[in-house]
């Protein structure tokens, strides 16, 4: 691993510390929301996870671009890991979003919540990324095709967001509207710390998973070299 990157242990401890701080602020410091009550606390985990998912998809796309621009072989694993983590956080967003919808509106799913629907579309899109990746022979061709698809994903995010907002104008008159909750100072502070901790956690997971995949690749080379 290039030395310029902060060491993994420092990051891991940082993530652990930040997460505990966030938990304390969310449940002890931040006051309960006026109308939603205690269930509003889901906001502090749901929204940061969604933002982290976007960040992971963006990282995956950036690494894919680097692969295409510089033919650097190492970017393929990085792009793959980024998209993989993005998908995990995407699923988490869907699940926590559904729980929040149940808590505040009594329904597990609502088509009028633009963000939820967007993550459903992205989930379908990025599952197809893995289907594509596992059905092409390993090699330069697979790396480039996966990279192109990852780049399309990032273009799809804003386009789908507008499509869904446009769709909501005629599929369902918006029954459940929820503009961003009005946040007091402590709430916003708790949100920021929670966001930072989840982002850092995601980066640590990214670095750990990437290291695992790199060791796998090196082992294959080693085995080939040592095989009689």
């Amino acid at each position: 691993m290039s030395i310029t990157k902060p060491s993994l242990t420092v990051l891991a401890w940082g993530a652990a510390a930040l997460t505990t701080l966030a938990a304390v602020m969310i449940f002890a410091l931040a006051p309960e929301d006026a109308d939603q009550g205690f269930s509003q606390k889901i906001f502090y985990v749901h929204v940061p996870i969604a933002l982290t998912a976007y960040a992971c998809f963006g990282l995956g796309a950036w690494k894919a671009y680097r692969l295409l621009a510089t033919r650097g072989e190492r970017y393929d694993l990085e792009s793959y890991t980024g998209v993989h983590l993005g998908t995990i956080f995407g699923v988490l967003t869907l699940v926590t979003g559904a729980i929040w919808a149940k808590a505040s509106w009594g329904v597990w799913w609502t088509w009028s919540s633009n963000q939820l629907v967007l993550f459903l579309v992205l989930f379908l899109f990025y599952c197809a990324y893995f289907m594509l990746r596992f059905s092409v022979e390993p090699g330069a061709r697979r790396e480039r095709i996966s990279a192109v698809y990852a780049l399309f994903g990032v273009a799809l995010i804003p386009v789908s967001f507008f499509a869904i907002r446009l769709a909501n104008d005629f599929i369902h008159p918006t029954v459940f509207t929820r503009e961003g909750p009005q946040m007091t100072g402590e709430m916003f502070a708790a949100f920021c710390v929670s966001w930072a901790s989840i982002t850092l956690l995601a980066y640590v997971m990214y670095r750990v998973e990437l290291a695992g995949k790199r060791i796998d690749a090196n082992l294959r080379d080693l085995r080939e070299a040592l095989q009689p």
């Binding site: 889901i42 699940v95 926590t96 695992g212 080693l222 040592l226």
Partner: protein, 55 residues
């Protein structure tokens, strides 16, 4: 627990569970890697000295 608290617990619970599952998957991968590096180390030691030169 009121229904609100149940849902909050569920949301945070899911988050923690998913992270733990991810850790578990990494752990199994680590175990596999450990076993494989062991095998490779034996293979490397078992090779006759001569052949090691051209590696």
């Amino acid at each position: 627990m009121s229904s609100g608290e149940k849902y909050v617990a569920a949301a945070y619970g899911v988050f923690v569970v998913v992270v733990l599952v991810w850790v578990a998957i990494l752990a199994t991968k680590l175990a596999r890697l450990e076993r494989e590096t062991g095998e490779l180390a034996r293979l490397a030691r078992a090779r006759p000295a001569g052949e090691q030169a051209d590696g």
